[in-house]
Point group: C2
Chain length 301, copies 2
Amino acid sequence: MHSPLAFPVQLRQNTISVLDETKLPLEETYIQVKTLKDALQALGRMKTRAFGQVLLFFYACVLSGEIEEVAAAFQKTRPTFDFFQLADVLKKASQKTPTLKEAVESIIEGFDEKRKVRAQRLAEILPHEARILTICNVNGELIYLSEALKGIGKTATFFVSETRPYLQGRRLTLWELRRAHIPAQVLCDNQAAVVMKKGLINCVVTGSDRSTEKGDIINKIGTYALARLSHYFKIPFYVLIQFPRALAVEEIAIEERPPEEVFMWLDGKGPWPEALYPSFDVTPSEIISGWMDISGDARCA
Amino acid sequence: MHSPLAFPVQLRQNTISVLDETKLPLEETYIQVKTLKDALQALGRMKTRAFGQVLLFFYACVLSGEIEEVAAAFQKTRPTFDFFQLADVLKKASQKTPTLKEAVESIIEGFDEKRKVRAQRLAEILPHEARILTICNVNGELIYLSEALKGIGKTATFFVSETRPYLQGRRLTLWELRRAHIPAQVLCDNQAAVVMKKGLINCVVTGSDRSTEKGDIINKIGTYALARLSHYFKIPFYVLIQFPRALAVEEIAIEERPPEEVFMWLDGKGPWPEALYPSFDVTPSEIISGWMDISGDARCA
């Protein structure tokens, strides 16, 4: 069973169809993107995140035919992800195919295969009765993970940290898991330490927006606190990492989002500009137990 | 400048006036309590919390004249707090006054004096430029603390963890601090680790619902994670503790609130019964730097 989040962005003729993640779980609606300007708007308004951004980047290149221009515009809108490196990947792939569109299709097909392989490798490492704490959303990969665990006679239950302020855990991950009939419970981010202390979970699995050669990762705010607490409680902490990688954390621009977004998804009342909003955090490699790379690498500490 | 939360419950003739904390910060409204049944309803629906519950208990005793009955009913509705011990305090005090009402008044006046003394003592310990992380709400005491710091030439800035799911930090603490023109910023609970790592704060101050002789505390969920992270970052963690105390954590019943409350204050859509909701957590004395007792004791680790 596929999650709609496994491919939240698709190219149909000359239009990119983007799953509006801000409307989930209440509505499953798609917005239509026809120009680079539309794409940047969808990106800036967080209509799609993470893997969806990667897909949107590739399809926007197909639409406009201008890889460098699309990369520069995407990079400006969402600085944490490395779109220039994606551009390099695409340019390299397009040398082997007659059209840019075919290059994009081959990359994306490859991605999905690799995500399944990565889920298999992680499944082999996880406990027999895996009680997995997760945060944010990894675009359908937890469903692949659950299937992979089942395939080798293991079981999976998920504990989903709600992931303030955007509530990706509560809105996206809980939704996709329940839709696939996979046992999942949500908890507030500040409850994770107690869930760990009580022994309710036996591993943590998160995604990452960026990672370095050394294994430091940058991911949605809250990831670092989970890793720090897992380390204290000796609970293994595994990360699904993306390619491409950076050399060091200092090379990566960490996006600061507008303070009013701290209050998103709450009662809608405001404004309360007196807010801090670091939107990502850095987790050092020393407190990570294992890394599963999209390119097929699995490495344990 | 007093916070309305410093005395959220008041007795006027034969009616108890209760500040409806669930409506803050959008409306400052009071509900009228005339019977024990009304009082229990206000208590169960979280119209008042913490110190407000203590006040409500005392005034409900004056209203009905039945200390034991009120204590048993309150205890059943909110098991984490020790209303039986409050009943003992009241019975003892009432032996020295002609009426129960006068006993209650003397206890409550004493409370406020003690809260101010406690704020003074804590101010002496805090850094010169105190950048204080707090969670939940301590009923106006941070305003006393800010005044006490100013009185000895120190400064205070507050970082308020929003305190999911009830958002007491965002709704109550941020509101009362800004109302008193005290610098304060809110952050999501999962951002505290990063704020600590970046050195934005130099101390943590929280309240506690219960505490033990040894110094373990029970407080709003999320407190333990903050203490654990503070300990890692070597940031002093101070607790305002209540009387009375219990001998051990095991003696204290920790309330589990209904799972649907995990989704309170969000978009109001649901239900999402697949939720965990431990509403309080335990912080062991080993990771607490200092305790300020309402009865005047100040103790540092």
